[in-house]
Amino acid sequence: MRTTISNNYNGSAAGVENVSGQTALVESTIAANDGVFIGGINVQGGAVSLTNSTVSGNSGFLAANIEASQGSLLSLVNSTVVNTHIAVGAKSFGATSMLFDLGGSGSISNSILSSSDGAVNCMVEASLLSLGHYLSSDNTCGLSQPTDMNNNASINLGLLQVNSPGTTASYGLLAGSTAIDAGDCSNGLTGRAIITSLRVRRCSTTLPNMR
């Protein structure tokens, strides 16, 4: 909780490698890690959940930010995954932010996936479920709940920085962001109306790391 995992280098997964059991990342930031295969989080097995968290700017050959392997479970709630590896290293195979292997599974709700410079958000060989209010810069995750927004070019994230009262780095939303007022009001997320200076209003799609 409220932990930053950054600038690590590792063979298989630089940031977090979950072999078994459960790992919960809450109000945390996993950024700028450099793995040979996976940059941010490798869910080899077991279950990893990210809540109110940010995964950004990691680099790896198979997946820049997250891989969910066979038999694993990944959950993203109120979180933001940003793929910037093309700009920082261009190491990722297929320029993929998140890789869901056959037999892995995942769910995404009230979260943002954003990639730049031609990188794609997802390579999905597995079961991936949207629980709604998913906002993506492309349509590669194949999610299509009524409240989802794919191919969205106006997510308009600010800089990755600590936004008070949060204590770990997160992205605010800039003017004109389609995430503003596009989130889920019913999931108990607190503090989402705090950062008015960042133009984040109530029920925004994500307010990563905010309390």
């Binding site: 909780m1 409220r2 932990t3 930053t4 995992i5 950054s6 600038n7 690590n8 280098y9 590792n10 063979g11 490698e17 059991g21 790992t23 204590t167």
Partner: protein
Amino acid sequence: MRYGGQWHQQSFVCLRWLRLPLRARPISASVRADAITPAWRRGGCSRSGDTVAIGAGLYAANIEIPANIVLVLQGSGAGLTFLDGQGQGPVLIVDAAATVTVDSVTVQNGGKAQEGRQGGIVAYGNLTVSDSLITGNSV
């Protein structure tokens, strides 16, 4: 480094950490250099269930918490308490069936494969990390 076992039916673990020179770290001058817990004073041995308070400073740490130990490692802040693996293996290994909480520390410079274990923190047991920074770890 660790030495663990049972004494009078009570599980314990002895943590051997070396306090390093502070180098150029922005350590608060107001924190005493010997800001340590009673457990530390009695030779670094803690009983299961203890909270080990770690004062501000830079510590060489390659520690392993054995099975069936419940321990809280309580730092003084991620910008104040630095646990440094010095490239000699993971900073912290949590064995299966151990339960460890790490709070308010920076875990850094863990690395170099050691019996197949690598990185900053390797958890086979139950691990909770909060208000901390894990950075600069490698293989």
